[in-house]
């Protein structure tokens, strides 16, 4: 287990992957106040090489790029550099993009309309090992795991959300902050974070059957 930046008492290192130079410049200017932006890349190949070289704490990852997109970067990096955390930052909030990136291993998903402060907070949360769930993402997850008792589930332990997790997601989707969820459900913030992390893990690990069913329901395949 590598030490996090906060434990070492240094600034977070962040790497930007986006094919729009203007956008990279904007994010760098906004985030530079809070963290160290250690590198940028505009393509999948460049990103894979430079992330391996710089080993940042967090990678801000664009979803749509000409040569394969964020999914390709995640697939290439996750095996070799498990300590690098990925936060998807996209202009698209289509369900298949969001869920696809999370399943590939991103720790959170925010859209490009996010405010600089919120983005900095999201980066910090991802670096600390938490997941960043926007209300929209919570809605997609609830949709993806919608209980359908008439369809048999191959591995219920893995694929279903517990009632508590579902409650947490609902409150997230209703626009509650972690602190408010904790107050509402009479649990600690730490427990809320645990539930959210479990949801993320289930989302990433849920089996192919569930995924294909989810996609088929939305006529994605």
């Amino acid at each position: 287990m590598t030490e996090t930046a906060a434990e070492e008492g240094r600034r977070l290192t962040v790497f930007l992957v986006d094919d729009h130079a203007m956008f990279r410049a904007g994010v760098r200017a906004e985030l530079g106040v809070h963290v160290d932006v250690v590198g940028e890349a505009s393509s999948v190949a460049e990103a894979v090489a430079r992330i391996a070289a710089t080993e940042p704490d967090v990678v801000l990852l664009d979803v749509h790029m000409p040569d394969g997109g964020g999914r390709a970067v995640l697939d290439a990096m996750r095996r070799t550099h498990p300590q690098v955390k990925f936060l998807a930052l996209s202009v698209s909030d289509a369900a298949e993009d969001v869920i696809g990136l999370i399943r590939a291993g991103a720790r959170g998903y925010v859209t490009k309309t996010i405010s600089p402060d919120e983005l900095a907070a999201a980066v910090r949360r991802v670096a600390d090992g938490d997941a960043v769930f926007s209300p929209r993402l919570a809605g997609f997850v609830l949709d993806a795991f919608a209980a359908r008792p008439d369809v048999p589930v191959a591995d219920p332990e893995l694929d279903q959300l517990t009632n508590r997790e579902r409650e947490v997601l609902r409150l997230l989707a209703r626009g509650y902050a972690y602190k408010e969820i904790a107050k509402e459900l009479y649990i600690s913030i730490k427990t809320v974070e645990t539930h959210v992390s479990n949801v993320l893990r289930k989302l990433q690990m849920s089996n192919r059957y569930e995924l294909s069913r989810w996609a088929a329901d939305r006529r994605l395949v």
Binding site: P135, G139, A146, A173, R174, Y176, D217
Partner: protein, 425 residues
């Protein structure tokens, strides 16, 4: 007249493929095409063709065959009109050659005449073939909407000249066939009849050769035309959307660049409509619950210049009760937009088996429900009263300083949820 050398330097041919160039043509561009392909002077080719006229019309025959077989060069920019004056010297030379041949060797009369007649038939068939080109015909029927390069082609072939040429080609073929018969019939012996039959067979074969590729070409051109039209339609749809929405919004943003609120409102509305266009299947707000909610959120966004973070899980069909739920949610959004004093409001809706629920939450000023006067109808009438009338429930939780949440729940009627689930599959 331009020489081939100038042609080659002025317009280098992209590939050494045999085709009929659009520029530098006198009749159909056959001579220019051959000259360009072989890299020799176009004048030499033309003279050779004219001289070959003397050998039983061989030049004419060759020209007709090349004309029929060679593809026309793809259009590149503006095509100059052909210069018919160029035809005069070659016509004169050809006439001279034919007269000379007639004077020098009058003994091979029959064979020479037949050669000429076959050449005439070939030219007539060529004319018919080229005039029956379906794309050309569609261009003529299209009328006014022609691009400049088409105009150059069409200028010489409007509908009347098309009919004229078609009939002309037919007349040439008929004259040729009749001529062949007229040459051979008077002799009356077995050999000439046999020859006549063979010529008839050759004629039939010629017709087959003309018609078969014509049909094939007609079908393939119709097919490619249709594919092109579909592509064009898709492109036109995108272009129309961008023109109607994106460009107008950008223009408005430029004009209102000092009014930040207005710019944000415009950008938000444009973003929403582009997203819907790109990612969402079109659903009617009068039929689907999620579409109705999103429309209500969009209206509030546009009217009050706030952003509504809308999340809808599941979907169902709209009926009277669901419409009331949407109306109550809309009222809650309007209240949040007007009184909370915030930029963002959350709207979350979920469709469950037994219940529809909608949550509208803001982090704004909040208010004391008990302090609201009875005469104010916004909350009591439009939200609480409306939900009660339709068998639902509205709970408003608000603390001054901690924002407001309006929770609306509506028990689902069995059949509407079932129908909604069926539709979602």
């Amino acid at each position: 007249m331009r020489s081939a050398a100038i042609t080659a330097t002025a317009v280098p041919p992209p590939t050494r493929r045999l085709y009929r160039p659009r520029e530098h043509r006198v009749i159909a561009g056959v001579a220019a095409g051959i000259a360009r392909h072989l890299g020799i002077s176009v004048t030499a080719v033309r003279i050779a063709l004219v001289l070959l006229l003397g050998f039983n019309g061989l030049g004419l025959l060759l020209y007709a065959v090349f004309w029929a077989v060679l593809p026309l060069q793809a259009p590149t920019g503006v095509t100059p009109r052909r210069d018919l004056v160029l035809l005069l010297p070659f016509g004169a030379i050809g006439l001279g050659v034919v007269l000379l041949q007639a004077l020098v060797s009058s003994d091979n009369g029959v064979a020479g005449t037949v050669g000429w007649l076959v050449a005439v038939i070939a030219v007539g068939a060529g004319v018919i073939w080229h005039q029956s080109d379906p794309t050309r015909r569609s261009q003529w029927t299209d009328g006014a909407s022609q691009t400049p390069w088409l105009a150059a082609v069409v200028a010489e072939s409007d509908r009347r000249s098309f009919v004229f040429r078609f009939i002309g080609g037919g007349v040439l073929v008929a004259v040729g066939v009749i001529g062949v018969l007229a040459v051979f019939l008077p002799k009356g012996n077995l050999t000439t009849v046999f020859n006549g039959v063979i010529f008839a067979l050759v004629g039939l074969l010629g017709v087959g050769v003309v018609v078969a590729p014509l049909l094939w070409r007609t079908f393939s051109q119709l097919r490619s035309e249709r594919e092109g039209r579909i592509r064009e339609q898709e492109r036109a749809e995108v272009a129309a959307m961008i023109h109607d929405q994106v460009l107008h919004t950008l223009a408005l943003i430029q004009r209102n660049s000092t009014d930040i609120k207005e710019v944000q409102r415009l950008a938000r509305g444009q973003e929403r409509s582009l997203r819907n266009w790109l990612y969402k299947p079109a659903a009617s707000p009068t039929e689907r619950f999620s579409a109705a909610l999103e429309q209500a959120a969009a209206e509030v966004e546009d009217t009050y210049a706030i952003s509504v973070e809308t999340v809808v899980v599941g979907d169902t069909q709209c009926d009277e009760r669901v419409a009331a739920l949407v109306a109550a949610a809309r009222e809650a959004l309007v209240n949040a937009a007007r009184h909370a004093g915030v930029r963002t409001v959350s709207l979350y809706a979920e469709v469950e088996d037994d219940e529809l629920s909608v949550f509208v939450r803001d982090r704004g000023a909040g208010f004391d429900l008990n302090a609201v006067e009875d005469t104010r109808h916004g909350v009591r009438g439009s939200i609480i009263g409306r939900m009660q009338r339709h068998g639902g429930k509205a709970v408003i939780r608000s603390e001054p300083g901690d924002g407001t949440e309006v929770r609306l729940t509506l028990p689902a009627s069995r059949d509407s949820v079932a129908a909604g689930k069926e539709n979602a599959r």
